[in-house]
Symmetry: C2
């Protein structure tokens, strides 16, 4: 289920009340700690059996952090009949929503989140979980993955159970985002669409969503019309929906390596990598540069200058794990077209 | 949940197996009786505790038919522990899907379906229900209404519980539809989009879906490109999604009257009415006429010639019940702009 509209966050209480087990139940709110200061926290519909956890997403979500958060929730609800909360609500950007998805899954699946990085490894349905995005572009509010950085790799927990049961899309909540963060997160959506629409794995479902998401991104980052926040929120949702039957490509693969070694957030990592991919995504990269100009954003440069050779090789390793992404972009013979040396060269230009 | 793709109908068995209560459970298949002859019925994933009901949709769905079908299901499952089937699967066009939605609702809500025509009158969640469209355009596979003709009025059962739990969108299934039926059903989507995008009640969610649905309709009915069935199926789905925060208008209101008195199916009723609405929807009506030409469709004319004055007045009555539609098109003062006499005049031209 999805609700959309300015002010619809105020409907969250009604939505949750239908899921509360009276009187012992409780909800877990995972909220970006950026909101710990300020008035927004007064709007959270907390009951006295609920658990509020401020999450820090200065780093991208790590499997160790997911395991720790899951344990914190288990301790709180250990005395409850079902030993589980009634729901997990993630309020924040893509990282916070990924944490919420991962915790909802790990509450009902044994072991560490590391064990589930991959495709369809989750066995049990998650606890009911709700997305409330306060940044738009990642599509995390609607996608069937939660991307985590583990000790060895950055890879999502991809499963039907990962998908949020409810989305609360309130454009008011993204209005206050810092300008650069808004841009880089939005570019996650834009670049995703360019990669998927030019890829080899695509059907009419994903094409329809992807084409409209792209158009909305253009309206937002090249235009000046009304309803920019509404459009950006819809672009993110459509971009996320388009993932169902499509795949990202070279830029996302490279971005995963940047995040793993440099700790860069996904959106800025995508943006940095994309600028060097004109030979693969020519019109998209040139349009992206017009968006940089229009939005007056200066991309970070020379970010690999201080890395060791081993760190560069690790980036190449992480990027090469994402086989479906390379194959989507370059076809089944991608390894011939894109040997380690060529991936390394791309990184060395950044 | 939605799955999309050529051949995805074959996944229906897997989807249902997860919902079957072993060993006493059973599913109800409501299938358009057009498929009673032919090979398609061999592909239905029937188990021996399931109930197969061929439904006839020569007439639009009536409340009396819904009540009768519901009783038939109740009798079959009277000996089961929960006295309910595990699910209801509607396979057919908009009318069949509406019947499936209505039966799924009426199995868990007491009384007659007449009692629930309106907005949010349903109290109990429906039985799990699945849509398998074999015609595209109505959006019935995704909308939160099921439109029924009762003794006094044609009006939907509008409720969150009406929405299908699962959609199986397989473009192969719409490939064999008769040319005129395909056109008129597709025009339901096209006209819906024109009405909602020019209406006063709309947000970015519905605008995004509606604009893309319109674009897909243009590709299908004015173009000659590949993937026409895939695009038409997506147009219908997007058109249905756009209903969430939008509303139809004058054409749908008039079409309801035509259906009630003349028994016309919704798509053809819309098409007949739309051709007389150039003063309200100029560019849309002119584009619609190009679609008629391109698809070589001859609209029925003089359809009200043999009606009595009382029948004409009844059409006006039925159309005027749809207050939100008129208000969406003409604003809160619609009654001044559109007195009975003007509605009557429009009907008399058809």
């Amino acid at each position: 289920m999805v609700i959309f509209g300015r002010g619809c966050f105020d409907q969250l209480e009604d939505i949750l009340s239908a899921k509360r087990r009276q009187p012992t139940g409780g909800m877990v709110f995972l909220v970006d700690d950026i909101f710990e200061a300020g008035d927004f926290k007064k709007r959270l519909p907390l009951k006295n059996t609920d658990q509020l956890i401020w999450v820090n997403v200065d780093d991208e979500p790590k499997t160790s952090y997911v395991d720790q958060l899951t344990e914190t929730v288990k301790v709180q609800f250990a005395q409850h009949p079902q030993r589980l909360p009634d729901g997990v609500i993630g309020i924040g950007g893509g990282s916070t929503m990924d944490l919420a998805k991962a915790v909802a899954l790990m509450l009902t699946n044994p072991g560490s989140s590391v064990d589930y990085q991959g495709w369809d490894l989750i066995k049990n349905p998650a606890v009911y979980h709700v997305a409330v995005p306060t940044l738009s572009g990642t599509g995390a509010e609607v996608s069937r993955t939660t991307v985590l950085t583990g000790p060895e790799k950055k890879l999502g927990i991809n499963s039907d159970h990962t998908v949020f049961d409810q989305m609360v899309l309130d454009p008011d909540l993204i209005t206050g985002a810092p300008r650069e963060q808004r841009f880089y997160t939005g570019m996650d959506c834009y670049i995703h669409c360019i990669e998927s629409l030019t890829g080899t794995f695509l059907n009419s479902f994903s094409r329809s969503y992807g084409e409209k998401a792209l158009e909305l991104c253009r309206d937002v980052f090249l235009g000046k019309g009304p309803d920019q926040d509404d459009k950006l929120m819809m672009a993110s949702y459509f971009g996320g929906m388009s993932i169902a039957y499509s795949q990202v490509g070279i830029c996302h693969a490279l971005s995963y390596g940047l995040s793993f070694v440099l700790g860069l957030h996904h959106g800025i990592g995508n943006s940095i990598a994309f600028d060097y991919l004109e030979e693969f995504y020519g019109p998209g990269v040139r349009e992206f540069r017009r968006m940089l100009e229009t939005q007056e954003i200066a991309l970070p440069r020379n970010i690999v200058a201080d890395l060791s050779a081993a760190q560069i090789e690790k980036m190449v390793d992480v990027a090469m794990i994402l086989e479906p992404l390379w194959e989507n972009a370059l076809g089944p013979d991608w390894k011939k077209l894109m040997p380690r040396s060529r991936i390394r060269e791309l990184y060395l230009r950044m």
